[in-house]
Each structure stands twice: as structure tokens, then as C-alpha cells.
């Protein structure tokens, strides 16, 4: 706990007071040279995130009832591994840190190894970790260049070109995707505080790895289309994460997929920053990079808050499934209030921390048309639509989580027996809630702190801030959260004064109306579950409108269907109907047109 708080303080100090120059060479290391640590702007920013999240989760762990002894050592190892990979100044330490973190996370996931689900989750986690290592090691190897130097300073001197650059892009994205893909599996099975650390810090680590490999080490001379795969992958993963969050009926899984949704938004911000940098639009690159950094920081804090609260709820109310919770706002008022702050922040509502990152991201994607290449303009328009869809879907998923778990009436006897969490756990949940409020009100200060990181990402250390308000564009559009908070407070005061004068009567209590609502029968002492919305019921109109079938098909039974379909397709050419012939001709035409578009095919 003290260690992680120490990280946070170190990172904040270094950002404020100036970064230490040069690298710290360690006396030990791999056979080809000494390992080295360094703290530049990018590392410091993410170390700040790790420190904050680590402090909150360690505090929670102090108050939570202790698990089995095997769950104690991996937690500091996880922290140490993440910190090591963040401060590494050569590829060996980076990969070592990532491997350490993955092993520790696997150990934490396998704590409950008596249960089959935990074992399967641990297996999947290790497979994904191996995939990540398998992708990142060749990427670092390709970056090392002909001299074989693995420290970052030497790598910056030989930026890759041509197919090597493309390979680094592909491998880096795959590796980062595998790192992020661990989240839904690990978060479900790990104990509460470890899950919170994973969900808070792992997305940050993913973005750090992407930023370090693609933005920093590959150098600023990459062409503009580099950002396009990142933008596309980020937007699509944001949408898919949000859609899956709507399907989940388990609180922790819902939060994991919503975390992936937010991570996708930050990754698309990073992609935009790369594209703008390649097109020499420095100010816009700073805007997009600032969006990615703010989103990463804000997401870490409010995701950790939500996962901690979900863990507390699971512990006291006895279940993680949304269909067995309900009415917890009466039994756990402090937790409910903090979760409400987290839910509002995750839905990206002003003036909380999620909105600042989302505003910057939307402004940079709205400015995507300035790149000039019409393919990129269309991609930016498509990314706008996907990002807006993802934001609205995440808000719907968060509302569903809070409404099912905390509002309404209890849905099961065990859920009705919940109680408030212990005092350290309460402080552990209040801390990130307060941080979310602070981060939301002062994004300008945060961006000024992030200027060294912006310098690493885009080459110019100028944050889009003026007088503590965020700015975007030439005839600048501004987001001033302090002004907004002031207006909200003044309006609230005015309204309260008016109401006290015109409507002084206090509220009376009576039975619920609902157009005619009677007491439940005797054999259902906790109320009839059919009179309350269920988890799938709340999401049903939305999913039906988005065109999903009533029963979600599992991906596991699509493979035999695919095989049967392929087998049926053999020998189909003579038996074509007219419609299929037309489709074939049409498809060929479209293919020819697309080939026309291929660069270099003119």
C-alpha cells in the first residue's frame, strides 16, 4: 500500500518538478548489456495512474477479509511487474515486467482453483499472455535494428521503414490486443482488489505499450496512414465492448467489457494522434494525444472504483449476478453513492472525468477531415458514428448495472441481507470517487502535467489548455468544467430557494402506485420477481432495435456451421440461380472497383 502511494507521489513530483535526464543503468541484466530504467513523460503519466489505482486497491485489500494465503504474495508482484514495465528503458525490462505482471495475474486468477471456471479462466489468461509475449518479442526484435541494441535510446536512432514498420504495427497491435483481451477473463475470477487493480491499470498498460512501441520508438517520420488501423481497431473494439456489456448479466463481466469499450476509445485517440502527426497537423495531434492520455487516466480511476464496489457488493450480498441483487441503496448508502459517481463518470457525463476525455476525443475526430485524404475523412466520419454509438451504449450498460444492483427492491433473500462494508473498505471506495470528481473538475491542470508525455507522443509539448479550460480548433470551442460546475451550483441554489418558498411541504410515504400495484402473495415474502425489470429485460428493447436475435448465439457453435456451409458450397457453380449469378457479377464489379482504388494501381 505504501509502495503504490509512493509511486503516485514520485510520478506527480517528477511531472511537476521536471523529469530526471538520462537513464539509470542497473548493475544486472541480460547477457547483451545492462538493463536500464528511465522516467520520461509518458512513463511518469502512466506511473501516476498505476500509483493512484494501486493505492485505492491496497486500501481496500486492508479492509477486506483476507483470502487464502496463496492470494497474498502475487498482489505486490503484480504491482512490481507493472511498475517495472512502465519505467523500463530497454525492451528486455519491458517484456520482463509484462511477463511478471501476467504471471502474477494468473496466480491471482487461479486462487479459487477448486472451481472449474477459475481454472478455465486462468488457462485462457495464460494463453493470452503467451500470445502477447509472442507478438511483442518479435516486434521489439524488429525494432532493434541490425545492431541488435535493445535499449530505447538506440532504438529511436534506427526507425523502421517499409515492411518492417508495417510488421511492427501489426505485431504491436496484436500484442496489445492480447494484453487487453485478458481483462474479461481475469476480472471475473480474481479476488476483489486484484480485479480492481487489473481493470484499472491493465488498460493503461496496454495504451502505454502501444504508445511506446508505435508512437515513440518508431519515430515521427511515419506516414499518415499509420494511425488508420489503430483508429479502426479502437472504434470497432469500443463498439463491440459496449454491445457485449449490454448482454452480460454478471456485474464483473459487464464492467470488464465496458472497460474494453473505454479502452477502445483511448486507442482510437492514439490512432488519430499518429495520423495527425503524420500529416504535420501538430496542434490536432496534441489534441488527440491529450484525449488518449486523459481517457486512460480517467478510465483507470473510475473503473477501479466500480470494480471495487462490485466486489464489495458481491461479498455482502452474496452474488455477482444482477438478477439476484436489488435495492442495495438502502442497505449500503455510502457504496451506492460512490458507485453512482463512478457510473456517471463511466457514462461520460459532464462535469465528471469521463466527459473531459470524451470531449477531447470527439473534437479530434470531428477535426479528422483536415487531413485532406478523402479515405481518411470517410474513416473519421465512420469513427465518429462508432464512437458516439459506443458512448451511448456504455451509458446504457452502466445505467443497467446501477439500476439492477442498487435500485428497486431486493430480488433474492440473500440479497436482502446485505450490509454496509467495513470502514477501511469505505475509505477505499471514497478515495477514487473523490479522485474522479477532482479529475473531472481540473482536466486542464492534468493536461498541463501531461505536457512531457504529449511531447513524447507528438513531438511538441503544448497542451490544448488556456486558463484551466480545454480548447479545440482555430475559432476555439472550449470546455470549461469549472465554469460549468459554477453554473450548476448557482442553478441548484436558485432552484432550492424557489422550491423552499413555493413548495414547502415534505414528502409523504405511501405504497407504490404503478397504475395499480398490490402486495405480493404470502409465498413470495420478498416481492414478486416478475413485477421488477430483469437484467435481460432492461436491455431487450435496445438489443432488438439494433437487430440482434432474441437468443444470443455462442461463438463456439459457429465453427461447425461454418464447416457445413463450406462443404455445401462445393460444386455450386452449375446450379446458380439468376439472383446468385447477378450477385456474383456484382461482387466482381465491386472487387474491380476496389482494386482501382488500391494505391499504386493507377
Amino acid at each position: 500500500m505504501g509502495v503504490s502511494a509512493g509511486f503516485a507521489v514520485l510520478a506527480a513530483f517528477s511531472l511537476l518538478a521536471g523529469l530526471p535526464e538520462g537513464v539509470l543503468a542497473l548493475p544486472l541484466g541480460p547477457p547483451w548489456g545492462a538493463a536500464s530504467l528511465a522516467l520520461d513523460g509518458l512513463s511518469a503519466w502512466f506511473l501516476l495512474l498505476l500509483g493512484m489505482v494501486g493505492a485505492c486497491t491496497s486500501l481496500f485489500a486492508l479492509g477486506a477479509p483476507p483470502g487464502p494465503a496463496r492470494s497474498l504474495p502475487p498482489f505486490p508482484l503484480l504491482l512490481a511487474g507493472m511498475a517495472l514495465s512502465l519505467t523500463a528503458a530497454d525492451a528486455f525490462l519491458l517484456l520482463l515486467g509484462l511477463g511478471l505482471a501476467a504471471l502474477a495475474a494468473g496466480a491471482l486468477v487461479a486462487v479459487e482453483h477448486g472451481q472449474a471456471e477459475a481454472r478455465m479462466a486462468a488457462r485462457r489468461h495464460l494463453i493470452l499472455a503467451a500470445l502477447a509475449a509472442g507478438c511483442l518479442m518479435p516486434a521489439c526484435g524488429l525494432l532493434a535494428g541490425p545492431a541488435g541494441a535493445y535499449d530505447f535510446a538506440a532504438m529511436r536512432g534506427v526507425p523502421p521503414e517499409g515492411w518492417r514498420a508495417g510488421a511492427v504495427l501489426a505485431l504491436g497491435m496484436l500484442g496489445a490486443g492480447a494484453l487487453a483481451g485478458q481483462l474479461p477473463f481475469a476480472q471475473g475470477a480474481a479476488p476483489g482488489h486484484a480485479a480492481a487493480l487489473l481493470s484499472g491499470a491493465m488498460p493503461g498498460l496496454t495504451i502505454y505499450v502501444l504508445a511506446r512501441l508505435l508512437a515513440d520508438l518508431c519515430g515521427p517520420a511515419q506516414p499518415s496512414w499509420w494511425g488508420l488501423p489503430l483508429l479502426a481497431a479502437g472504434a470497432v473494439s469500443a463498439l463491440l465492448g459496449a454491445l457485449q456489456a449490454l448482454r452480460e448479466e454478471d456485474g464483473q463481466s459487464l464492467l470488464a467489457w465496458a472497460g474494453i469499450g473505454h479502452l477502445g476509445l483511448a486507442v482510437s485517440g492514439l490512432g488519430l494522434a499518429l495520423a495527425f502527426r503524420g500529416a504535420d497537423l501538430g496542434a490536432l495531434a496534441g489534441l488527440a494525444a491529450g484525449a488518449a492520455l486523459l481517457q486512460a487516466l480517467g478510465q483507470g480511476v473510475f473503473m477501479a472504483l466500480l470494480v471495487l464496489a462490485a466486489g464489495a457488493v458481491a461479498h455482502t450480498a452474496g452474488s455477482r449476478k444482477l438478477d439476484r441483487l436489488g435495492g442495495l441503496i438502502h442497505a449500503m448508502p455510502v457504496t451506492a453513492a460512490c458507485t453512482l459517481i463512478g457510473v456517471l463518470a463511466a457514462s461520460c457525463l459532464p462535469p465528471l472525468s469521463g466527459f473531459a476525455g470524451a470531449w477531447l476525443l470527439l473534437q479530434s475526430v470531428l477535426a479528422g477531415w483536415r487531413v485532406g485524404f478523402i479515405g481518411f475523412q470517410l474513416a473519421a466520419a465512420a469513427a465518429t458514428v462508432l464512437a458516439a454509438l459506443a458512448l451511448a451504449l456504455v451509458a446504457a450498460a452502466m445505467l443497467r448495472l446501477f439500476g439492477m444492483a442498487f435500485l428497486g427492491r431486493p430480488r433474492s433473500p440473500r440479497g436482502a441481507g446485505a450490509h454496509e462494508v467495513s470502514r477501511p473498505e469505505r475509505w477505499a471506495i471514497l478515495l477514487p470517487a473523490g479522485l474522479t470528481l477532482l479529475l473531472g473538475l481540473f482536466p486542464g491542470v492534468l493536461l498541463l502535467l501531461a505536457e512531457p508525455a504529449l511531447g513524447v507522443l507528438t513531438g511538441r509539448a503544448a497542451a490544448p489548455v488556456r486558463d484551466l479550460a480545454l480548447l479545440a480548433g482555430d475559432r476555439p470551442a472550449a470546455y470549461a468544467p469549472l465554469v460549468l460546475a459554477l453554473v450548476l451550483a448557482l442553478s441548484g441554489g436558485l432552484l432550492a430557494w424557489l422550491l423552499r418558498r413555493r413548495s414547502p411541504l415534505a414528502a409523504a410515504r405511501g405504497p407504490a402506485w404503478d397504475g395499480g400495484f398490490i402486495a405480493p402473495p404470502d409465498y413470495l415474502p420478498f416481492g414478486d420477481p416478475l413485477t421488477q425489470p430483469s437484467a435481460s429485460g432492461l436491455a431487450q428493447p435496445l438489443r432488438r432495435m439494433l437487430g440482434e436475435p432474441r437468443a444470443a448465439r455462442l461463438p463456439s457453435d459457429s465453427t461447425p456451421r461454418l464447416r457445413d456451409w463450406l462443404a455445401g458450397r462445393v460444386g455450386w457453380l452449375p446450379g446458380l440461380t439468376a439472383r446468385q449469378g447477378l450477385s456474383l457479377g456484382f461482387g466482381t464489379l465491386v472487387l474491380l472497383l476496389v482494386l482501382l482504388l488500391w494505391p499504386g494501381g493507377r
Binding site: 479550460a469 480548433g473 470546455y479 465554469v483 413548495s503 405511501g510 437487430g547
Partner: protein, 319 residues
């Protein structure tokens, strides 16, 4: 001097929006009644309704939490903040630099979230059903709104509301097809966001038609008064937003004197009146759609906005 003018216009604007919100609602209802051949209640009726509701003692369900008390006020406060940011009769108000289209959309989303939370608080069937349906409308409407923002950003160079109004007023882009397309898409979004026909039928108590009424079924007294006032304020806000973005002529420019403000006020009243009339005519001519046909109409709006953006991309290509 400009600061004083800014403060005065801001206070006047806020008072104007807050005072005329029930009047706009009353005028819309009166026009619709006239169109249906009835005499209709006086346009001042919503004021009396709100007064009556405020005087009554609210009744809360036994298992309602502090959210049912706090959510109406929180939602109205968010709506008031959004109303302060949207320009009406004069540009260059005090809060104009902070008045961004995306911030207004965010504040309206916050107000809607307050309503949804209050609907789910008691845990009844109607509340859950209304919340589930109401959650799905912004998912389809916000992408359309953002694509329209793309067109506005290209044409006016900013998403600041004052900046867009000033750019369109001075006629820099002129009368453009993309503007018309994006404006048509925004009109559809406005219909969806305010739950007017053909998206939903306001005031109907038939179960398939209930959206907002289902969410308000448990509220009474001053809570109900606050929710109804919030929906009236939201309608006025949207009409003012449409007037500022699509018909910005007549707005007093920044730093003008009281005479220009008077002209701006008259122009604003005329624009809101015309928009109310257009809304009533459109509502009268269309029937309420099934909720699950909503993706169709919003998909059409998405196409309009996409076409507007694509035309602008083509037009601003390498010369």
C-alpha cells in the same frame, strides 16, 4: 462595457428561457387542439398546472430512496445549465465561449440519466419498461447528432454554438445543400429527443405509447412539477438550438446595444412561433410509430447527415 453587455444578455436570456418554457408548451398544445378542431386550453394553462402541482404534497413509494427526491432537482439543474449555454436572441453572452454543442448534448444526457435513475428507483414494472425504452432512443440519435456536428464543424470551423451562429449569420458558407441535409437530420433528432410524434405520443396513457409517462408514473406534487417543467424547458431549448443553428438571422451580434436586443427578441419569438407551428403541423400529419420502427427513421436521418458530410468532403478536396 462588453463584459457588462455580456452579463446583462446572459441574465436576460436565462430569465427568458425559464419564463417562456411553459408558454411554449402551452402554445404547442393550443395549436394542436385548434388543428384538431377543438377550442383548446389557454396557452397559459401550464403555468397554472405547475403552480397547482407545486402546492401539493408529494407522495413517495415506501421503498423509494433519496434518489427520488434528488433526481428531479438534479435533472432540472442540468437542463437549466444547458439552457444558459444555448444562444437565443443575442450573441456574445457571458457564457458564450463555454457554450459548445457537445457540452450541451452532454448536459442533456445528464438530465436524461437523472430521469432514468428516478424511473428505476421504486422497482416497478412500468418504470423499468419506460427506462428500457427511453435508453434506446439516445443510442440511435446521438450518432446522427455528431455527424451533423461534423458538417457544422466543416462549414463554420468550430462547434462553439455562438461561433456557428455567427458564421452562418454572416453568410460565409451561404445557402448550402449540405446545410439543408444536416438541418433536416437535426430536425429528426429533435423530434426523437423530445419524444414528440411520430417518435412517441406525449401525454398518452396507453401502454404501448408510454415512454415518459411510464417513467413519471410514481412522481407527484413538486417532483411531477419539476419533471414536467424540465420537459417544457427541453423543448424550448431544442427549438432555440435549431433556431440558432439553422435560422440565425436577426440575432443581435456581440456587443450591440439594447435596440439590437429588442430586435433579436422579436426575431427569436417569431422563429420559435414558426417552429412550433411547423412542429404541430408535422405532428398532426403523422401518426405515432411503433417503437421498433425507430431505427428506420433515425437511419434515414443518419443517411442524410452522412450524405451532407460526404458532399462537404468532396467539395473541400484538393483544389
Amino acid at each position: 462595457m462588453a463584459l457588462l453587455a455580456g452579463i446583462l444578455t446572459q441574465l436576460l436570456h436565462l430569465a427568458l428561457m425559464l419564463a417562456t418554457a411553459p408558454l411554449v408548451l402551452g402554445v404547442t398544445r393550443w395549436l394542436r387542439a385548434r388543428m384538431l378542431g377543438r377550442r383548446g386550453a389557454s396557452p397559459l394553462q401550464p403555468f397554472r398546472d405547475l403552480d397547482r402541482l407545486l402546492r401539493k404534497r408529494p407522495v413517495l413509494a415506501e421503498n423509494a430512496s433519496w434518489l427520488s427526491e434528488a433526481a428531479p432537482q438534479a435533472g432540472l439543474v442540468a437542463c437549466m445549465a444547458a439552457a444558459a449555454l444555448v444562444p437565443s436572441f443575442a450573441g456574445g453572452m457571458l457564457l458564450a465561449p463555454a457554450g459548445d454543442l457537445l457540452v450541451v448534448v452532454g448536459l442533456l444526457a445528464a438530465a436524461r440519466m437523472a430521469l432514468l435513475l428516478a424511473a428505476l428507483d421504486v422497482g416497478t414494472a412500468f418504470g423499468g419498461m419506460g427506462a428500457a425504452r427511453a435508453m434506446s432512443i439516445p443510442v440511435l440519435a446521438e450518432p446522427v447528432l455528431l455527424l451533423c456536428a461534423v458538417s457544422f464543424a466543416i462549414l463554420a470551423g468550430t462547434t462553439n454554438l455562438d461561433g456557428i451562429a455567427a458564421a452562418f449569420r454572416e453568410g460565409a458558407p451561404g445557402l448550402r445543400l449540405s446545410l439543408a441535409l444536416a438541418g433536416a437530420a437535426m430536425l429528426v433528432v429533435a423530434l426523437a429527443a423530445n419524444a414528440r410524434r411520430p417518435v412517441q405520443g406525449p401525454g398518452s396513457l396507453a401502454e404501448p405509447a408510454m415512454l415518459e409517462e411510464a417513467m413519471l408514473l410514481e412522481s407527484s406534487g413538486r417532483h411531477l412539477a419539476l419533471w414536467e417543467y424540465q420537459s417544457a424547458l427541453r423543448l424550448t431549448l431544442w427549438l432555440s438550438l435549431l433556431a440558432a443553428l439553422l435560422l440565425p438571422y436577426g440575432m443581435a451580434p456581440a456587443g450591440a446595444g439594447p435596440f439590437a436586443w429588442l430586435l433579436g427578441l422579436l426575431a427569436w419569438a417569431a422563429k420559435i412561433g414558426v417552429l412550433c407551428l411547423a412542429l404541430t403541423c408535422f405532428e398532426g400529419a403523422s401518426a405515432r410509430m411503433r417503437l421498433f420502427r425507430l431505427p428506420g427513421i433515425l437511419g434515414l436521418a443518419l443517411l442524410l447527415a452522412l450524405l451532407a458530410a460526404a458532399l462537404l468532403f468532396l467539395g473541400t478536396g484538393p483544389a
